[in-house]
Symmetry: C2
Subunit: 528 residues, 2 copies
């Protein structure tokens, strides 16, 4: 069956939606609404949208839009291995990295192999390797156990794994799971590697080189920089090849390199920004925090993936979040979304979502290459609360544009090292601030002094759980991946290519080659 | 003389500007334009705007707007100590923290003292204190020299100092300036403090408690958490009071505390987001990186402050940047600005600017409390290049909205630990990428495949210098402070209060006190 792909503005449901005014949450909130506008999002995570400007009439139109755009069918065909990434003629299989590893997932054949088996096989190799590293049966070239892992990668090989590691470090500490220190080198700026390598003990360091193509300029340059630093260290018997593993595709130049201890494979069906649950995130998290931790993350993600199959929008958190986002963007004219985790452990999670969302749906043509006549992906930004409250929340409360907000919060801290002052724990204070902000944004406040007036109707959603564990983190990650996927389907985009990054790469090469007679490039290059 | 404050849309120049179409930079670039559209911004920093959509006609109208809104006169009256922060009836004196310390700056009397003398006096105390700490004449309570300083503060007491410290760490390392390690605790989330304190040696740690009011919930809570951890450490002879200094106002409850080693003072005329060059940034940077480093930062900032007095817009980088920003925001309808430093050392600088800009100008009423009829401060976000290229640049290149870009770049790395691969150093590759991006965004590229088509006319500016030193960093900081100030004047806002943060604080207290019968607060609070 040929899937029916059409632009958002060709649907009847969207036409009806454009006539819908936002629900007034300044006055329309009630305990009942707060309790009922909630959808399970997997692994104990709940998506709450009582403070979004929607009523049952909006919800009916969202359902109509989901049905008319056949969003669940499109997700199912993605899972079934159809060529969803049409621009690059590729399957899109990141769901399978968790589904199949956990013994579920569809049978998809490609390149002469069963892909779920391939991903699960790599994960089994990662399990064995990471255990050996952690138990000290695989050691460095001078016989010392590894104490530090350093991921060298950029974009999807950096942001997701880095955010996930940071998010789980405190949890692992509280659970008394032994940890290897993890560091990350990403930028081609030599100051990045210099800082990360400052004071490193090469004898106990394992470098993880992550590049799907095996040709990423930043990553190869930083590998060479690390190798040079190891050589210059003058440590007797140090063999760099015994301190380096690769995560790459089987066909990349890296895959056949003899200069690495081991290689773990991904393929073209896992986009960089969707690769955290593949070997790209798997090697670093399994070595640093244990394979079991990573597997629990996969379990949470898989739970969210299953829930995302629900056809009813009020049972499908990712789908509903996506459709509310479409309403905010395409009907109410919002250009940005702020991600506001009330959890210091999630401090780099917004940076990962920034890539996930903006690289997937920052597109001006539909999947057939035709310009679309409506806005697509918004700008994503965010910092953890309560820090953001003392920074940019002023604009969120009283600026001239309405910025939709996505709060994330937990009942318990990760580490449990808390203090009671003035009658409450720090965690209680954190959560009280979160609650206060949701209500302040929604209801506003009148005042005789207009400078102290809050208009209210500043819309937010909340994703909450008891504690940030590997499972809830996995569900959180997959929630956003699936939200972005559904929005891409609704907008009729190909969310899985990134042609917009190519021109810069070509011109950078031209600059390095002397600008090739291009007067404009030369004029800028001469400044540096 | 009573200063004439009027709304942007009451000026003739703005009315004329609204009729101006953007200049076409897709085709209009030339080496000559690139060379001439450049303004010194202090300390070797240059502001370049050849790839902004402006022509000499735009510039003439910008000049007319600057004159009509009397932007330089307003800056002069701020420097002279007029009550510019009308909402809170306060002077605005952050320029004096650098000007007067360097022997310049206006004589401003307030609270019975000459304020420049007060700031310079505090800085002199910081010089003496920081030298004593660094030389080991002031030591911890068990007789050991301090090795680590930990700033406890949030918002302006965190973002600016943290970003500046990170920006200068590599420079200080290359210059072989001895360093004390610096850490920062900000969030009330107990996991933040727990992580920062993980593995800390209390005997050699000096905590810097920063709160102007002395009542900031997060900061007092984290102080108590630190004190409790010190007590629980069981280290014989450890006296917490000998490991704590305060940065606060003279009238705050902290100022009279006996439980600190020393106190350094600020006052109500230095807003949090403008306090990096006061004792708020001074104590941590001087102890960690040396007072001379901090003084050089002040020198760079002061240079930029002096340049910002120029009445001709093409000689005043901050003013011109501000006016171009007004054109982008109020005529061309841009809602965001991306800050893109090609320098890993500046990786947290966008987060500081996010506060600086969005908290200053995220306002919907003018300085008289009347609602304005035009958009004010934009959303600010950003990550360092080349990392961003592999993340959200897809949307910047091919998304449906145009996001103006502010690039920052340097000819040399900070640390000088570089490698030549494939014929170029990492720094050359970094700069080649920066050049390539500026040109790619401006010129775009046609292609038969619309998916590979770049529309061009994606506007950017560039702030560049030879190297990120304390002086260039100071100039960079002051450039943005002054840009934001000029925009606030042009929009007729009070950029120096933040009433929008109050409601959340009040409601958070109410939640902690049991919600006071508020059904909505209670319904959310019960989730946590």
């Amino acid at each position: 069956m040929e899937m029916d792909y059409r632009n958002l503005d060709q649907t009847e449901a969207f036409a009806a939606l454009t006539k819908m005014a936002p629900a007034d949450i300044r006055t329309g909130l009630s305990a009942k609404r707060i309790a009922s506008y909630a959808v399970p999002a997997g692994a104990g995570l709940t998506y709450r949208y009582a403070t979004m400007p929607v009523s049952s009439e909006h919800l009916a139109l969202f359902q109509a839009l989901a049905d008319e755009q056949r969003l669940i069918e499109k997700y199912r065909s993605l899972l079934a291995g159809e060529i969803i990434n049409t621009g690059e003629k590729r399957l899109v299989l990141h769901h399978l990295t968790r589904g199949r590893v956990l013994g579920a997932g569809t049978i998809v054949m490609a390149d002469g192999e069963e892909k779920g088996e391939f991903y699960a096989g790599q994960m089994e190799r990662i399990r064995i390797f990471s255990q050996a590293v952690r138990e000290g049966t695989i050691v460095g070239s001078t016989g010392k156990a590894f104490k530090t892992v350093v991921q060298i990668g950029i974009g999807g090989s950096d942001l997701g794994p880095r955010a996930l590691h940071l998010a789980l470090q405190g949890w692992a500490r509280a659970e008394e799971i032994p940890q290897l220190e993890a560091r990350f080198i990403s930028n081609v700026d030599p100051d990045d590697a210099a800082q990360v390598l400052d004071g490193i003990d090469f004898e106990t360091a394992l470098f993880i080189l992550v590049s799907k193509s095996g040709t990423t300029q930043e990553t190869l340059t930083n590998r060479d920089l690390v190798l040079q630093a190891m050589e210059r260290s003058g440590i007797p018997g140090l063999d760099p090849a015994k301190h380096l593993v690769a995560v790459t595709s089987k066909t990349s130049p890296l895959a056949s390199s003899k200069a690495v201890l081991d290689s773990f494979f991904i393929d073209d069906y896992i986009g960089g920004r969707y690769s955290s649950t593949s070997a790209v995130g798997g090697v670093v998290i399994s070595t640093a925090l244990g394979y079991d931790t990573f597997k629990r993350l996969l379990e949470g993600a898989h739970e969210a993936d299953i829930l995302a199959l629900e056809t009813g929008i009020t049972a499908n958190a990712a789908l509903l979040d996506a459709l509310i986002g479409i309403y905010l963007r395409n009907v109410l004219g919002c250009t940005c979304t702020a991600i506001l985790p009330y959890s210091q452990a999630l401090s780099r999670f917004p940076a990962h979502l920034q890539q996930l969302d903006m690289e997937s749906n920052g597109k001006h043509v539909n999947r057939y290459g035709e310009p679309v006549e409506y806005p697509t992906g918004p700008v994503i930004f965010g910092e953890p609360g309560t820090n953001g409250q003392h920074s940019f929340y002023q604009l969120l409360h009283q600026g001239t544009d309405v910025i939709p907000l996505q709060f994330i919060g937990f009942k318990e801290s990760q580490r449990g090292k808390d203090i009671v002052t003035a009658g409450s724990s720090s965690q209680k204070k954190l959560d009280a601030n979160l609650v206060a902000q949701i209500v302040a944004f929604a209801r506003g406040k009148d005042d005789d002094n207009p400078n102290k007036r809050f208009a209210g109707n500043r819309w937010s959603s909340l994703l909450n759980a008891d504690r940030l564990t590997p499972e809830t983190l996995g569900a959180l990650l997959a929630h956003y991946e699936n939200k972005v996927m559904f929005q891409g389907f609704a907008w009729n985009l190909n969310s899985f290519d990134q042609e917009g990054v190519q021109l810069g790469k070509v011109l950078a090469k031209q600059v390095l080659a002397g600008c090739g007679g291009d007067e404009i490039l030369k004029a800028f290059a001469d400044l540096f």
